[in-house]
Symmetry: C2
Subunit: 199 residues, 2 copies
């Protein structure tokens, strides 16, 4: 289910944004119609995949979305290079990221398009966006308002280390925390929202 509105519905457009946008947004609890008209419009921006040479060595953006219409998105801190999070984008999220310079994702748990920071204020400003050889993954290099990315409250989602090496063969690995400071608790930052972690 998708609703369509005219104008600046999500707030804080970049200063250079021009004209009137036709935007869609998710109706809470109803998902964002990942296979609908908004997706088709976004797909029209991308090239058809015609050959391996075109995809690997060409200059056309021809992303390959999976059976769920998604592409993984790897997000690192522009200054430090630290891996902050890995999310997923549908065609609309990729288009909006390109057009606005702010990271948009598709939430698999909520089945909804999602501008990172719309609740938390931890907006991700994309300083560089890259795509991989077979165009089925993107890399976002971002500056983050507040510097925090993880819904659990840690700076990065990757705050635990798995011990590696033959000494650990056959043993159930015990994770080691690499950071301990949390900036917030989930329930404080996202009151009333279900935790996105699925068992």
């Amino acid at each position: 289910m998708t609703a369509v509105a005219m104008g600046n519905i999500l707030g804080d457009w970049p200063p250079g944004a021009r004209g009137v946008f036709i935007r869609t947004f998710a109706v809470p609890g109803q998902g964002s119609d990942p296979g609908g008209r908004e997706e088709e419009m976004s797909q029209e921006l991308f090239a058809q995949r015609r050959s391996i040479e075109q995809v690997e060595e060409g200059t056309e953006l021809a992303p390959r979305f999976d059976e769920q219409g998604l592409i993984p998105a790897v997000t690192t801190d522009f200054a430090t290079g630290e891996l902050m999070m890995v999310g997923y984008m549908n065609a609309a999220a990729l288009r909006l990221t390109i057009e606005t310079g702010q990271a948009h994702y598709f939430s698999r748990s909520r089945q909804a398009l999602w501008r990172k920071g719309e609740t938390s204020g931890l907006v991700q400003h994309v300083r560089e966006l890259l795509i991989d050889d077979d165009q089925d993954c993107v890399w976002l290099r971002v500056e983050i308002d507040g510097g925090i990315s993880c819904h659990v409250g840690y700076r990065s989602c990757f705050y635990r280390r798995i011990p590696v090496g033959s000494a650990h063969a056959g043993e159930t690995p015990v994770l080691e925390f690499t950071m301990r400071d949390k900036a917030f608790e989930f329930e404080e930052m996202y009151p009333g929202q279900p935790n996105p972690t699925k068992l």
Copy 2:
């Protein structure tokens, strides 16, 4: 289809490796039985997922594999932080990465377990392995023999930039190459192998 062999069938084990390993390997063209006994054995190393608190804040490794039995794996260069590639692991690939300290993946195009570098020599030595908040993604920080990761011949798979910003709204994006030097051509490095890029 999986074959089982005793001993050091893949060569160059790390110096600390002990004893006899029972290893499975993919029979070319027949896949590696991603849902079979090898996978079950590997799954036994991991904890059951019982609660959000356990998964997010605990020290048990309890990864969540998707419907295909896979987890995305993000691989960065240990020294520079550069994103080199994004691959997928099944349970066996994750277990072997932990036990050997060398990156193993599951090739979706070949449907086979895959020790990175087994053909090319571009082996990835894992200096640090991390897992994310909801344990459905891992991060490998690696040193790479030869320093190259991409099957197309570039250092990293992410050698093209997507232009970002409102000036590009509504236009089909034109990719910009961020590196031009190729270390090899695919056909030279992998003679007779099908290109893994799918259209």
